[in-house]
């Protein structure tokens, strides 16, 4: 038996080593990506459970975008102000924020409309984050408005000659909005190019409308090409490919001050939102499971480590929900708060 076992090891070890070498990224980055991807998935599934338990009114989020969002969050230059990257994200952005250090409980607070929710104070839907300390611009429900806004932050960054760039994310369906075209034009004006990474997460759906009936272009990225913007189409379900493409684009933008464009093909694992049931879509590739299998084959993780990781984050999610449940909710009189800076002039009855 012992000899047999030794034989098996000698057969698999070189294979794993070879696989590791071909993965294209150092082991610590691969393992870190996996960790964030699992955490993000567990968090989103916790949010769906909270919705199903009747503890929230609506869920929308990013299961299926982990392999794109996590590398983006890891590579973003995190901080506040013009010297750091601005992120104009859409509502499937939890993988990015998890990779930037988001505490699960802050996502749960937002989901459960607690007054402790720093992003909106219980005023907005799940994943509508705003984190000024990390230059996370407010996520809005109207699609695509974030694209020209990203050109505004990029414009200010260019003027300040900082190395910070602006990054914008959004879905494929939203590219039909005029704001998408506005951003391509604003970012690429000759001699006034902006340091902005324009990205589209193409999951081939707009709620229930298929991509196929709505697009004449071969790739959405082709539209960027027309403006002489460096553009790439990637498999956004592969975190290694995402990481390398994002890094390459970011390096290019920081070096040249010019825009870059990435179209990442991703999955939408639980449908559009709770409005469409938030049920698992079995036909979609699961980027977390696929990556996990890749790491298993390469011998970077084992089943025990995987189990511990998923269970650890599951426990963290449960604890976050338990904590959020005990926290206060916004009070009716708070509707006037923050209409204007310093709460002035909010209620006309008091002029």
């Amino acid at each position: 038996m012992a000899i047999k076992k030794k034989k098996t090891q000698s057969k698999t070890k070189p294979k794993a080593n070879q696989l590791r070498k071909t993965l294209g990224l150092p082991s610590d980055i691969l393992l870190q990506m996996h960790d964030y991807m699992v955490k993000s998935r567990v968090l989103e599934e916790r949010l769906i459970k909270i919705y199903r338990a009747g503890e929230s009114f609506f869920w929308i989020g990013g299961p299926g975008e982990e392999a794109w969002g996590v590398p983006l969050g890891m590579l973003a230059y995190k901080g506040q102000g013009l010297n750091y990257d601005y992120l104009h994200l859409h509502y499937r952005c939890s993988p990015t924020l998890v990779a930037m250090g988001l505490d699960m409980v802050d996502s749960v607070r937002l989901m459960m409309n607690r007054s402790t929710d720093k992003s909106t104070g219980g005023r907005n839907f799940s994943n509508h984050f705003c984190i000024p300390e990390w230059n996370i611009a407010p996520v809005t429900s109207p699609l695509e408005v974030q694209y020209p806004i990203a050109c505004g932050t990029a414009h200010a960054q260019k003027r300040s000659k900082s190395k910070g760039i602006s990054i914008v994310t959004g879905g494929d369906a939203g590219t039909a909005e005029g704001d998408f075209a506005s951003a391509l034009i604003l970012a690429s004006r000759k001699n006034q190019e902006l340091p902005v990474l324009i990205t589209v997460q193409n999951n081939k759906w707009g709620i229930s409308t298929s991509y196929d009936g709505q697009h004449g272009e071969t790739h959405i990225a082709d539209r960027a090409k027309a403006f002489n913007i460096k553009s790439t189409v990637i498999n956004g379900n592969d975190p290694i490919e995402s990481y390398l493409a994002i890094k390459d684009s970011m390096d290019y933008i920081r070096k040249t001050g010019k825009p870059a464009f990435i179209e990442a093909h991703v999955s939408r694992l639980y449908g559009h939102s709770s409005a469409s049931g938030a049920n698992p879509i079995k036909e979609e590739r699961d980027p977390v499971k696929d990556f996990e299998n890749k790491l298993l084959k390469a011998g970077l993780i084992d089943q025990k480590m995987i189990k511990e990781k998923w269970e650890g984050y599951e426990a963290e999610g449960i604890k976050a929900a338990e904590l959020a449940r005990t926290e206060s909710v916004p009070m009716p009189e708070s509707i006037w708060d923050h209409t204007y800076v310093n709460n002035e002039n909010a209620d006309w009855r008091k002029f």
């Binding site: 705003c130 990029a154 200010a156 034009i185 209409t339 204007y340 800076v341």
Partner: protein
């Protein structure tokens, strides 16, 4: 004495030097034209945007997110309507982010009829603007107020809308801007671009001083005790003229220039109505759900027992557009005889 276009220019110049105003932009705002009404001529930070209203407002929001001050222009208010959801988002950003992110941006746009501007150069926007919670909205009737209100807008940490009555852009006031040369020809030689080649022209700015018109502070432009007339912008000057004419017929008309549409000076309106017992609200936006209807409603609610006559709203006719022929324009927006008739009618009413 500066005209309103020059006053706007002077305010922008002052703000560039004292409030760190970094961007003044919009269609044809930069050199060589300096705006279709020349209100941005010679302004150091003025630049030409793409012909894209949503791009302009989106950029302004992004610039404001970084904390930089900007003034964005929509060339005519008639073309601001396709930005209405961006204006809504700009107004709700502070509120939606639980007070975390303010947008210190100013949007300026010419409004109203009076220049035979046909269907798409005559729209008003004050009634629409008053529904944009989170915005401060002003409209001057004199160059000095234009200077003081625009500086207040730029200095303010909230989004501010500066409505320029386009028919008054060449009208001069009776009060000097602090630091302005007394002789209008001297000012013209200093800050008006020459006709023809302007490539080497630079303005010679006078040493102007800070002058702020606070938000929510109206101004009594005619004192009287028989009836109160509340207006702003172009129609304020018409109301003044009517009040002067009617005084020779024995009427005593108090005219209030609201200046600030939101927040508005209710104390001034209230005090005046308590004195006169009669009120006419005048503006040129269309009459159904006009901002003046809100003021009339509040008058009835809070001052019902002080009233000697029913409050009256004189506003634009609820028609789809303002036709080019003078007969059409004059029949669509309030004229002096309409205002005079309304004042006489209110004064004739016996409780």
């Amino acid at each position: 004495m500066a005209n309103m276009a020059q006053a706007v220019r002077l305010a922008l110049h002052y703000a560039e030097n004292h409030y760190d105003l970094k961007d003044v932009f919009g269609q044809d705002v930069g050199a060589p034209l300096g705006g279709v009404f020349t209100a941005t001529q010679g302004v150091k930070t003025a630049w030409n945007s793409t012909l894209d209203e949503r791009g302009i407002i989106g950029m302004a929001m992004g610039i404001a997110m970084t904390g930089d001050r900007c003034v964005a222009e929509i060339q005519f208010a008639d073309y601001i309507f396709n930005t209405i959801d961006l204006l809504k988002i700009a107004g709700n950003t502070l509120w939606c982010t639980n007070g975390q992110m303010s947008l210190p941006m100013t949007v300026m746009t010419p409004v109203g009829a009076g220049i035979r501007g046909s269907v798409y150069h005559s729209h008003s926007f004050d009634a629409w603007a008053s529904r944009l919670a989170g915005w401060k909205v002003v409209m001057p009737s004199t160059p000095l107020d234009a200077y003081g209100l625009l500086l207040s807008c730029i200095k303010d940490p909230n989004p501010c809308l500066f409505l320029k009555p386009k028919a008054l852009m060449r009208v001069r006031g009776e009060e000097l801007i602090p630091g302005e040369p007394e002789d209008e020809k001297t000012l013209k030689n200093m800050i008006d671009a020459p006709i023809g080649d302007r490539s080497n022209w630079k303005p010679k700015w006078p040493k102007i001083e800070e002058y702020l018109v606070p938000f929510g502070q109206g101004k009594i432009t005619r004192t009287g005790d028989q009836v109160t007339v509340v207006s702003y912008g172009r129609h304020l000057l018409l109301c003044n003229e009517v009040a002067d004419q009617l005084s020779s017929e024995g009427y005593s008309v108090e005219v209030i220039d609201l200046r600030s549409i939101y927040p508005y000076d209710w104390t001034m309106i209230k005090t005046s109505i308590e004195k006169t017992g009669r009120v006419v609200f005048v503006n040129e936006d269309t009459e159904v759900t006009n901002f003046a209807e809100h003021l009339a409603y509040r008058t009835v609610q809070e001052l019902f027992y002080n009233l000697l006559a029913r409050p009256k709203v004189i506003a634009g006719k609820n028609v789809p557009g303002i036709g080019l022929h003078p007969h059409l324009e004059d029949a669509s927006v309030p004229q002096k005889h309409d205002i005079a008739a309304a004042i006489k009618e209110v004064c004739a009413e016996v409780p």
